[in-house]
């Protein structure tokens, strides 16, 4: 049987050459993402800004949004949004946080229930008061910072500090771009988004670590190879794995995106962008080349010029036999 071969054996792409393009592009995109975050903002869900979210389903026929809008508008509850949600008889109602503390939120729900009456099924009602929303936002932010910190410390112990720093820069880059994506697409930013960001962090690091592991191995084995060549060989060697793994993750996410329902739609869409699009790119084009700038391996190539002589790597791609370097 002929097996599917997505990446040919013994690829020799010169990934390092792209760093002169990839670094400026990433810098530009990151700045754009940060600008989006500040000027376009995130579509914060009620988890973080408080308020009420109701998902209702009309019992007979498609929902009459205009009628509902007048019914709720008459209640004078401040800002509110109505939106079709997945099906024509499914409506998502968002009501901004009511002034007057936690009790006022509860009264708002009661009023909407009375206004819409028995014509609809209440599939979901979520009310987050002001005290909780501030806390959730704080916890979410602390969580992200803690995760990055903990992973940094772990990598620092397992690798050299340059690797830890490189991985962190790469992953903050991932998170920044993903946040930019969320701002651009106006996806709901709620607790599950924090979960998505943390998972992207985990996955993208996973990828980076696999390449770093290989780089470390190569550093130990080939003492004379120039740094860009060594990185190129490492990335090429793990390329097939990277592609296959990301395809399987993409397949899993695709299944979730198509069949997982509306409730986790924004979650999976964010993951798709973060893990598959950004994460893969980052580990190859950012996390690896950045090691050069962070001075990995500079000690062993004292005096060697940045642009090395024609690579001796061509023959050295295949590890020599009988060098069972077990750690």
């Amino acid at each position: 049987m002929r097996l599917l071969r997505i990446v040919p054996d013994d690829t020799k792409f010169d990934f390092m050459r792209f760093r002169r393009i990839s670094f400026p592009i990433s810098a530009l995109l990151s700045i754009a993402a940060i600008a989006l975050f500040f000027f376009h903002g995130l579509n914060f869900g009620i988890d973080f800004i408080g308020g009420t979210l109701m998902e209702v389903q009309t019992k007979a026929g498609p929902a009459d949004l205009a009628k509902m809008r007048t019914a709720i508008g008459g209640l004078k509850l401040g800002d509110f949004q109505l939106q079709e949600f997945g099906a024509p008889n499914d409506v998502l109602i968002r009501i901004s946080e009511q002034p007057g503390g936690d009790e006022a939120q509860q009264q708002a729900v009661q009023k909407v229930r009375e206004a819409l009456g028995d014509e609809v099924d209440y599939r979901r009602v979520e009310v987050v008061g002001p005290s909780v929303s501030t806390e959730l936002l704080a916890y979410g932010t602390i969580g992200l910072v803690m995760a990055i910190g903990a992973i940094l410390i772990y990598l620092w112990f397992r690798f050299e500090w340059q690797f830890a720093l490189g991985a962190m820069i790469a992953n903050v880059h991932d998170l920044v771009l993903t946040v930019g994506f969320m701002s651009l697409t106006h996806i709901d930013f709620d607790l599950t988004s924090i979960a998505a960001l943390l998972t992207i962090l985990g996955y993208s690091l996973n990828d980076t670590v696999v390449i770093y592991d290989r780089i470390r191995e190569m550093l130990r084995r080939y003492k004379r190879m120039s740094m860009p060549d060594l990185l190129n060989v490492s990335i090429n060697a793990t390329l097939s794995r990277s592609i296959v793994t990301h395809l399987t993750v993409a397949i899993s996410l695709l299944a979730l995106l198509l069949f997982g329902g509306q409730a986790i739609h924004s979650f999976t869409a964010t993951m798709m962008f973060g893990v598959v699009l950004v994460g893969t790119y980052t580990s190859v084009f950012i996390a690896s080349p950045i090691l050069i700038y962070l001075g990995v391996g500079s000690g062993r190539m004292e005096g060697a010029p940045e642009e090395p002589e024609p690579p001796p790597a061509a023959t050295a791609v295949a590890p020599p036999q009988r060098s069972r370097a077990r750690r």
Partner: protein
């Protein structure tokens, strides 16, 4: 890497088998599982987002607790100083403290000593904590008593404990199935009721303090006069039904704490819904005395500072029981009876978060999750087989065992499965496959490097496993943080992701290797089929 002793292979297979076995109770109806021995009953709990239900987060009103504490401290100061016959002026609550001015300078030391006795040492986790309940200071004849923060926190904790008991009684009286009521942090209570679709009534019942008092109506002036000018010092103006106002004495004749029973019923003459109640013996005596002394005068039944009714006492009530009437519906009479039986909350509770999912959405989510899981698994299986052939089949076996083991571990922990949790499982398929991909790609590389088949497999495993460990630990750290900070559904995601990483590490390090070892021993391959 490819050699397993017989007992080691057996241990691996048995572990995998038993963990998978733990998932079995999930596939039988609950009624069947109930008849099994208790150790076999552990199963996965569906989260509220999947089975539908209400999640309410309540917060004890710390301000009310503090105010009540100050009020009672104020009363204590009065009692202590009177007992000690110390003259004082200007006793008042000022900010977070009670201040009193001692008239004669010679009394100040004595007063300090007596008032100091009000301050008690606080218990810590291990014996005395070294902190006291009240700070007592004197400044030029003015003594200030400030309850310490530690004492207030203690109070709030107690209030939460009491409230939990009372909430349990109230919720049980409503006949709700399997509610979970637990403390969250210092001043919060989480109430989760599976299957509850409309929590309006529950919220109403939980939101009432249910502090019931019997007090006299002050007839020295009308309520309108009192509202316009100033109410007498020992009376206050309270609202009644339909905008009515009453001037009620502050002194409480009998309080709801003296009630032993309350039942809804109907008035025999008017057939209106009423609530009948019975006092305990001390309550009955107090009520008898009060009604004897005040025949012909109106008294008021006050619930949470609102007058329910203010009937005139026609004759002394000596039997210790009575009834409350006042514009009730059948349901509101029933609710009041429940509240009175369960007792008053020590402080008001506010609902600060509500998440309710209807059963329809829950079922839809389960279906969506199942479809996504099947589709994802099917696609991955086909893809792996297409890419790695026989080895892909091995990987697929590992993934299947993995998923079964995740369900097993979740059951062992009686963990909660949420929709994001299902997403976590689907993603785990990706992780589990990744371990195999890493191993296979490494094997291929070793083959290209010129090793013999068996040699390459051996080297591939030993090198890939180190990488697998490193890369999975980072993802695991992210999952752990998520578990720590997350609530509800998000925590469910962290749980399945974390468990998934552990099980996929297990299968990568043991099961996949074992399968490969057997295959190598059986077929003695000369080339690697990938």
């Amino acid at each position: 890497m490819l050699f397993f002793t017989r007992w080691k292979a057996a241990a691996i297979l048995l572990t995998a088998f038993f963990v998978c076995l733990c998932a079995v109770p999930n596939f039988f109806p609950e009624s069947t599982v109930k008849r099994w021995p208790s150790w076999a009953q552990r199963h996965i709990v569906l989260g509220l987002d999947l089975q539908g239900g209400s999640h309410l987060l309540l917060q004890v009103d710390a301000g009310a607790v503090r105010k009540e504490r100050l009020q009672s401290l104020n009363d204590d100061v009065l009692r202590v100083l009177r007992q000690a016959r110390i003259q004082f002026t200007g006793r008042a609550i000022v900010g977070n403290a009670v201040q009193v001015h001692i008239t004669r300078d010679t009394d100040v030391d004595n007063a300090l000593a007596k008032l100091g006795e009000l301050s008690t040492p606080l218990a810590g986790i291990l014996g005395a904590s070294g902190q006291r309940s009240i700070d007592v200071t004197a400044n030029a004849g003015v003594i200030t008593l400030t309850p310490t923060d530690a004492a207030l926190t203690d109070r709030i904790r107690q209030a939460v404990d009491q409230s939990i008991q009372i909430i349990e009684r109230r919720v049980n009286e409503l006949g709700l199935v399997e509610p979970t009521i637990q403390r969250e942090g210092i001043d919060r209570i989480l109430v989760q009721v599976p299957g509850l679709q409309d929590p309006s009534r529950l919220k109403e019942i939980l939101g009432k303090t249910a502090k019931l008092d019997f007090r006299m109506v002050d007839q020295s002036m009308t309520a309108e006069q009192a509202a316009e000018s100033r109410a007498p010092q020992d009376s206050e103006v309270l609202d009644g039904e339909g905008g009515a106002k009453y001037l009620i004495e502050k002194r409480v004749l009998v309080s709801g704490a003296d009630l032993v029973d309350a039942q809804p019923g109907f008035d025999q003459r008017t057939s209106e819904p009423i609530v009948s109640f019975r006092f305990n013996s001390s309550g009955a005596r107090k009520f008898a005395e009060a009604t004897q002394a005040n025949v012909g005068k109106p008294f008021a039944i006050v619930l949470d500072n609102k007058v329910i009714s203010a009937p005139v006492i026609r004759e002394p009530i000596l039997g210790g029981s009575g009834q409350i009437s006042g514009n009730f519906t059948v349901q509101s009479a029933n609710d009041l009876a429940i509240l009175l039986r369960a007792g008053a909350l020590p402080a008001p509770l506010t609902i600060i978060e509500e998440r309710t999912v209807g059963p329809g959405l829950g079922q839809d989510s389960i279906t969506a999750g199942e479809h996504a899981a099947y589709a994802g698994a099917a696609l991955v299986i086909v893809f792996m087989f297409a890419t790695y052939g026989l080895f892909g089949l091995f990987a697929n076996i590992a993934v299947a065992v993995n998923i079964a083991m995740i369900f097993g571990v979740l059951s062992l922990l009686s963990a909660t499965l949420t929709l994001p949790g299902i997403a976590g499982i689907v993603l785990t398929v990706g992780i589990a496959v990744d371990s195999n991909v890493l191993i296979y790609e490494r094997i291929r590389e070793e083959v290209r490097g010129g090793r013999s088949a068996i040699n390459a497999i051996d080297a591939g495993f030993s090198r890939a496993l180190a990488t697998i460990l490193d890369s999975n630990i980072t993802t695991f750290i992210a999952a752990a943080v998520l578990f720590y900070i997350g609530t509800g559904p998000v925590r469910g995601f962290a749980v399945t992701l974390g468990i998934g990483i552990l099980t996929s590490l297990f299968t990568a390090f043991t099961l996949t290797r074992l399968i490969m070892a057997y295959w190598v021993r059986m077929w003695r391959p000369r080339t690697v089929p990938i």
